[in-house]
Symmetry: C2
Subunit: 192 residues, 2 copies
């Protein structure tokens, strides 16, 4: 049943397991993920899986890390594509909401209370790092204005994402554009 | 064991059950609520409870309705106490986040996917009604500007509440004030 474990280079099995885990997460909403099933899917023995992830929480933490990394990458790409500055700032917000809608179970996992999100605390967070950098640019330097802008921006995109995921607002592109229009997405970013 | 059911006036038993349910919700995080236990707590037979709530989902829907009503009342009080207008608008935002922090399980229930929140869809929502009225006042009339302001305001307070409930941001008053300061809480509300 099992492919030889040596067919995976060092680190590649872990990556294959995370990939399989991410697919299972969106298919099964997390709770139903089984390490044994992941082992079967990537073609190794359960023992080989336990070497990387001793239990399901360890796997979920890794999936949460992968989620934050992908979220940050999606936002960085959107920021660059929009040419940075205010348009780029709004683009990162739209990318955040779109990521949540495209990966609902993963997004919930990243932010779930006491789950992967909490385990991640203190580690690097590329999404937050980008947000801080872009708000410092918009606010014209570090300080209270940049901090506030970052917190407001995170809150608005997180709230919009959650309200759409939970079916309280329709998950449509036009609504995302309305809420995160560059000209109204925190005009206080440009001090008058 | 059971008090005579006739000791409850018409409607009073339902109210007593909702009250007991709200207490149980915050104590047990919802999933552990039992209709039999509520019956014991308010001193009636399970049969009497089933007359009002045939199953747990019916009770949870009622708790969700009660949650929205209380949220709306807390916001209306805050709006009036702050004198309405822009200060009142910000006050309703702070009241939303504070309500979430004070009633975490109830707040989650109101907005949980496919739970009470969904059952509530289409019924009156005093929190949303107040938000719409206050944004129409701020925007100087009904229209796209007022609609956008309402969606942005709901998103920011909902996101802040969720990030605090899920431990991603510290649940402290100063942070609420920072994010929902009247002077920065959607300056676009006053068209220039």
């Amino acid at each position: 049943m099992s492919t030889s474990e040596s067919s995976y280079h060092h680190g590649a099995l872990r990556e294959a397991l995370v990939e399989a885990g991410l697919r299972a997460l969106e298919a099964a909403e997390g709770s139903a993920i089984s390490l044994r099933e992941l082992a079967r899917e990537v073609g190794v023995s359960p023992t080989a899986v336990y070497r990387h992830f001793p239990n399901k929480d360890a796997l979920l933490a890794a999936l949460g890390d992968a989620g934050l990394t992908r979220l940050g990458a999606a936002q960085a790409e959107a920021y660059a594509a929009a040419g940075g500055d205010r348009a780029g700032f709004a683009a990162t917000g739209r990318a955040y909401v779109r990521f949540a809608l495209a990966n609902p179970a993963l997004f919930r996992l990243v932010f779930a209370h006491g789950k992967a999100g909490a385990a991640h605390a203190g580690k690097s967070d590329p999404a937050w790092d980008l947000l801080k950098r872009s708000t410092i640019t918009l606010a014209g330097g570090e300080g209270a204005a940049a901090d506030r802008l970052a917190l407001q921006a995170w809150s608005i995109v997180h709230g919009l994402a959650m309200l759409m995921l939970d079916g309280r607002l329709p998950a449509d592109e036009a609504l995302i554009d309305t809420v995160i229009a560059p000209e109204t997405f925190f005009p206080s970013a440009n001090p008058r």
